[in-house]
């Protein structure tokens, strides 16, 4: 696993978000706020960073005229998370 991904997942909010996303197909922003215990602004920034690194996908759409955003983990994200977790277990 590259150092950049390791650095990204060192942040607890990003780690919580990606750990939750690995166990679901898709998830909305409100659920991620509950899971990560963070503020809207902070979570948006952290999710944007994960998205820019190609670890998560962000899908924006309208439902009943209300804007919604769904998040899901990418193949690269899954692979990186698995490698990260494997290394964590080895170091423990």
């Amino acid at each position: 696993m590259n150092k950049e991904t390791e650095k990204l997942l060192f942040n607890p909010i990003r780690l919580k978000a990606i750990s939750f996303l690995i166990s679901v197909e898709t998830c909305d922003f409100k659920t991620l706020i509950d899971v990560t215990d963070s503020t809207k602004g902070n979570l948006s920034i952290q999710l944007k960073k994960l998205n820019e690194a190609g670890l998560i996908d962000i899908k924006k759409y309208f439902y009943n005229s209300y804007p919604r955003t769904d998040y899901s983990i990418t193949k690269k994200g899954k692979k990186s998370f698995e490698e990260f977790f494997k290394e964590l277990k080895l170091l423990k």
Binding site: C27, D28, L88, K92
Partner: protein, 189 residues
């Protein structure tokens, strides 16, 4: 943040995913009540349902199609309320989606060949119920599916059984009772 803390964060986040099976129970109860009511109505008022050559077909196609639209809307709304979709939710959705398409296909074929679709639909339903029960690890649904399969097989060998009553007994056994137990189970909320 040390390694133990990171592992704890990962475990906590993953454990926050709860499998909510209540909507599946609601779907099973809804469909069993709809089809049982339709079967009873057809049984007691055949002069209304069968007043013309195609009226029974229209009756048995239009109401289930409306039911499909309602349950699809309910499931979408419920999915949005929950906030996330698990892999298991997707598998269940695919299985019942395939059942929906197969139902349309069986009904179309039975209309062309002028035969009753009841037993074929019940057979397919029993297989789908068994699969669902095994996937969600809920024995009542699996047992309901097996009961429905046995009952459907029995009805094949008894051609004089009234197919509307076969529908009522089969769906009560295979869908209504397991659906209610799934809907009301305590650790489901």
């Amino acid at each position: 943040m040390n390694k133990e803390e990171q592992i704890r964060i990962i475990n906590n986040a993953i454990n926050q995913t709860k499998q909510n099976l209540k909507p599946l129970g609601y779907n099973l109860v809804f469909w069993s009540i709809v089809v049982i009511s339709m079967s009873f109505f057809h049984y007691f008022f055949p002069q209304i349902v069968q007043f013309s050559y195609y009226s029974a077909s229209i009756y048995w196609i239009s109401i289930p199609l409306l039911g499909m639209i309602y349950t699809t809307k309910y499931n979408i709304k419920n999915g949005i309320k929950v906030g996330y979709v698990t892999q298991l939710d997707r598998v269940i959705k695919i299985i019942w989606g395939v059942f929906g398409f197969a139902w349309i296909f069986i009904v179309a074929i039975s209309l062309i060949y002028k035969v009753s679709p009841v037993q074929d639909v019940l057979f397919l339903l029993s297989i789908v119920l068994i699969m669902t029960g095994l996937i969600i690890k809920f024995n009542n649904v699996t047992i309901g599916g097996i009961g429905l399969l046995i009952f459907t097989a029995y009805s094949y060998y008894n051609p004089f059984m009234n197919l509307l009553l076969v529908n009522v007994v089969g769906l009560s056994l295979g869908m209504l009772v397991p659906g209610l137990s799934l809907y009301f189970q305590k650790n489901n909320e």
